[in-house]
């Protein structure tokens, strides 16, 4: 075996995971936060008028902030992007998409522990949104990889794959 072999392989794997996450991140940031609400609603329960207003409250504001956050992150100003997402989260703290995007921003800032934790927080709000759940597991996998937790990363990748396969049919 050549001396640099396994190291180079590992570096390539990390790079691949990184590219994957960033590509996904790009998508995630554009996604409107309304998607997650599809899964939330229990059909049996009659929606209270107040709750209805709650679910619509601040949607337009959140969309605007999300767009600004994306622009800031694309400009390399992840600090500002994070602040804009936090503003949006103060309006909609139950939005799994916002937590997910905040995780992505932290990942881009190389704050991997925070990225993994915030992706976990997104998971706890993701309801039945398998696609978003899978993405969160991908962020967790990539973050753990960067932190040197190979086993943890593999487990997270497994979770992501399970969700993607199940969601594919």
């Amino acid at each position: 075996m050549t001396p640099g072999g396994p190291g180079a392989l590992r570096a390539a794997a990390v790079a691949l995971a990184l590219v994957l996450v960033l590509a996904l991140a790009g998508c995630a940031v554009v996604e409107p936060p309304s998607r997650e609400d599809d899964g939330d609603e229990a059909p049996a329960e009659a929606p209270e008028p107040d709750r209805d207003a709650d679910s619509e409250a601040g949607m337009a504001a959140v969309q605007r902030l999300l767009a600004d956050a994306r622009a800031a992150s694309d400009n390399g100003d992840n600090d500002r992007a994070g602040a804009l997402l936090e503003r949006a989260l103060r309006i909609r703290p139950d939005s799994a998409v916002l937590w997910h995007n905040l995780a992505i921003v932290r990942y881009r800032e190389a704050a991997y522990e925070q990225a993994a934790d915030l992706a976990g927080r997104s998971l706890s709000h993701a309801g039945d949104n398998r696609e978003l759940k899978a993405r969160n597991w991908q962020v967790i996998a990539a973050s753990r990889q960067m932190l040197g937790d190979e086993d943890g990363a593999a487990r997270a990748r497994e979770r992501a794959r399970g969700l993607q396969e199940a969601g594919g049919d």
């Binding site: 337009a60 600090d79 936090e86 503003r87 103060r90 703290p93 934790d117 915030l118 927080r121």
Partner: protein
């Protein structure tokens, strides 16, 4: 000839050498000394001037109100926010910093504001409300709908040097021209012509003083007054006056009139507020009138100008009549000099002084919160930089939450003994931002900050940590587990025997785990804590952000650990925040005086409690408020609002606690005495009503949990905790960790379950 002359000169020089030479040397020495003296004065005045000119304490702002369509907010609440931000009701709300209300519509014009993340322009807005929510936000000119607007925040305080000198810097262009005109007309008519001192003014003053036989008039120019203010001395020696005059001339040589005038406006001493000196018109305006300088009416401007002559003598709060007479004199001078029209002066003279109550001025209203901000910032900034670098600090304080908490404290403590103290903390459940903080029964008094510094035994507030430690071991405990509530004998750290009691001094035999927490029984909690292990409980406490001893005794289960209300907020935030520990923050960001971002304090979150045990413990904490020791909350709050929380009472009723949360707010209340004496209050009778009143005004979203996949509802028998069937007597539904449902069944339950299984099988067969 030349030679002769030269010889003659040389001889004559030789002859006059002693006298003239010495004279010349003396003159030169005097010149050098004078030059040195002047250079020293120049250095001195320049240092003082530059130091003052560029020394500005950090300004702390409240969090800006985010207005967006759909936000739960009433017109009254908006107006409370606007008032806190120094807005006033005026005309049609078309000038920056004003509002006007027409029924369910509020017109307002925001002020341009430099946030740390960019500037926002002034906007003329119309905000429509319906059903307790913001329905529309429109530009008034075009009708264009806006989804989101930040309303410029209240300046809530300044981090001033220990000398307790306070100011709010203004730029010359922001000062009303009538105020400048009035100031010059009264204090220094020749300001634009003189070179620092005014010989004619001095002569005029000297003549007047001679005639009167005492000092009745000063001939000082504004520049001289500025020098005097910079020196901060009222010494009246001749040498001092000479120094001041020379320095005034030097200042005029170095700086233009605009710079000098601007510095004067920011420097002049105008009032003493306790141990705080009010310097500059910029701060005097909100201090006396509760609004920014740019928004003062002519009579208010004249009153400020009147105070220059004698801040103490003409203090309008202490000597209203004398101040009014002086103000009217100033108005007269302003009219005489064409600063305002005679009609305007007449009209202004007819107005009352128009001050706000002392203490109602918009700054320094939040001493406890400011204390928290300062402690936060001192981790990252040097004291001098905070005091002088003009930093802008964007805090998390919600004026509305603070206002609500203050009103609740006033109402709940009214008529109670003076020795009874209180502290309140409110925190945003998800972001960990501290939104209100009260450190004592008088929230305006900057004394002992009990919210941060009163560390008291937490009593039963520790119980959720004990029960959580148990519920994290689902094979051992569930909400329906039977706990033993019978007499218990324990040995304490010194080997002494003690027998803990329940609050009502009765024993109940067997109780369900969920009920033991709901009703806060002591003995089952101690037994449970000992069964699950003290280290398991201290481990939970550490994950909830608390220090915990490496070795603890059973008495730890009774809440002997001493914590501040802020510590308790940190602990309960985890329950409210999905099991994520989020460091509490009082500052969002800091920028420098050019608006450049220096530091941001981002939201952080770390999962410390897993989904399933969190769901179970929060279920129990909701029962506490629905039917247990916290049910008094619903005497105040609508039953539609889902809440969770826990009471705490310490021995002999010394401390009365309540910690709890809605979906959006975590609130912690402590009541007790500084001398640790008995209050006669329990958590339910003391802290709870105050908590409920605060939450009623602040909470907008009920606490609702999404049931995790690995938690299932299970029917258990209310007496025995055994698994049963819905139709059996005594059946009660409780959430359980999937796969850890009770193994034993009641007789009725088993029979019913078997029958149903059969039935299901039969149906399945039929409908295949």
């Amino acid at each position: 000839m030349a030679r002769k002359q030269s010889r003659k000169r040389s001889t004559s020089r030789k002859r006059t050498f002693p006298l003239r030479r010495w004279l010349l040397i003396g003159l030169a020495a005097a010149l050098v000394a004078a030059a040195g003296y002047v250079a020293w004065l120049d250095y001195e005045v320049r240092t003082l001037f530059e130091g003052k000119r560029w020394s500005e304490p950090a300004t702390v702002y409240a969090r800006p109100l985010e207005l967006y369509t759909g936000r739960a907010l009433t017109p009254d609440e908006l107006i409370t926010e606007l008032r806190a931000a120094g807005y006033r009701q005026a005309g049609d709300g078309a000038r920056p910093g004003t509002w006007a209300r027409h029924g369910s519509t509020v017109d307002l014009t925001t002020r341009a504001f430099d946030y740390w993340d960019g500037s926002e322009p002034s906007r003329r807005l119309r905000v429509g409300f319906a059903d307790g929510r913001v329905q529309t936000i429109q530009r008034r000119a075009s009708g264009e709908a806006l989804p989101l607007v930040r309303v410029d925040p209240a300046a809530i305080g300044a981090i001033a040097p220990t000398r307790r000198e306070d100011r709010l810097l203004v730029q010359l262009d922001d000062v009303p021209v009538t105020l400048i005109g009035g100031l010059l007309a009264v204090e220094d008519r020749a300001f634009h012509r003189h070179f620092g001192v005014s010989p004619t003014a001095i002569a005029r003053a000297a003549l007047a003083n001679l005639r009167a036989g005492r000092i009745v008039q000063g001939g000082s120019t504004l520049t001289q007054q500025l020098v005097k203010n910079l020196y901060l001395s009222s010494e009246q020696t001749l040498a001092r006056k000479l120094n001041e005059a020379v320095m005034a001339v030097l200042l005029e040589m170095r700086y233009d009139k605009r710079t000098i005038l601007e510095t004067y406006l920011n420097e002049v001493f105008l009032a003493q507020d306790g141990n705080r000196a009010i310097h500059g018109f910029g701060l005097a305006a909100p201090y006396f009138f509760g609004r920014p300088l740019a928004e003062l009416s002519v009579d208010q401007q004249a009153l400020l100008v009147a105070m220059v002559k004698g801040p103490s003598r003409y203090n309008p709060r202490r000597h209203p009549e004398r101040a009014k007479r002086r103000r009217d004199v100033v108005l007269g001078i302003m009219a005489d000099n064409g600063v305002i029209s005679p009609e305007a002066a007449r009209e202004a003279r007819g107005r009352p002084l128009g001050m706000v109550d002392e203490g109602a001025s918009t700054r320094h209203d939040y001493p406890a919160f400011m204390d928290l901000v300062q402690r936060h910032l001192q981790r990252d900034y040097r004291r001098e930089d905070l005091q002088t670098a003009g930093l802008r600090v964007f805090s998390t304080l919600s004026p509305r939450a603070q206002d609500a908490a203050e009103r609740a404290v006033r109402r709940q403590l009214e008529g109670r003994p003076d020795s009874l103290e209180a502290a309140v903390v409110t925190v945003n459940a998800d972001s960990g931002e501290v939104t209100a903080l009260i450190g004592g029964r008088n929230p305006r008094f900057a004394g002992f900050n009990r919210a941060l510094d009163a560390r008291r035994p937490i009593g039963s507030l520790i119980k959720p940590a004990i029960y959580l430690a148990a519920l994290e071991r689902p094979s051992g405990w569930g909400l329906g587990s039977i706990l033993d509530d019978s007499p218990l004998r324990l040995e304490d750290a010194r080997g002494e025997v003690w027998t803990p009691r329940n609050f009502d001094r009765t024993f109940r035999g067997d109780v369900l785990l969920v009920d033991a927490l709901t009703h806060s029984y002591n003995i089952p909690a101690i037994r449970l804590g000992m069964d699950v292990g003290v280290t398991a409980v201290t481990d939970v406490m550490r994950r909830l952000g608390q220090d915990a001893p490496r070795r603890a005794y059973p008495s730890y289960m009774l809440g002997t650990a001493e914590r501040s209300p802020l510590d308790v907020a940190r602990m309960y935030q985890v329950f409210a925040g999905d099991g994520f520990r989020t460091p509490l923050r009082s500052v969002r960001a800091v920028s420098d005086d050019d608006g450049e971002r220096l530091k941001r304090y981002p939201l952080e979150a770390e999962r410390v409690i897993d989904d399933a045990p969190l769901y179970l413990i929060n279920y129990a904490l909701q029962r506490v408020v629905r039917e247990g020791t916290g049910q008094g909350a619903y005497d105040v709050i609508s039953r539609d609002m889902d809440l969770a929380g826990k009471t705490g009472t310490t021995s002999d009723n010394r401390d009365s606690w309540f910690a709890g949360f809605s979906g959006d707010v975590v609130g912690v209340v402590w009541m007790g005495r500084d001398d640790n004496g008995t209050t006669g209050l329990t958590g339910s009778t003391g802290a709870l009503p105050l908590w409920a009143q605060t939450m009623d005004a602040v909470a907008r979203r009920g606490f609702r949990q999404e049931r995790p996949d690995n938690v299932v509802p299970v029917w258990v028998d209310a007496e025995t905790g055994r698994r049963t069937h819905e139709a059996c007597t005594g059946a009660r539904q409780l959430p359980y960790h999937r796969g850890h449902e009770p193994e034993q069944w009641t007789e009725c339950g088993r029979r019913r379950a078997q029958r149903n299984d059969d039935g299901d099988g039969w149906l399945r067969g039929l409908f295949r």
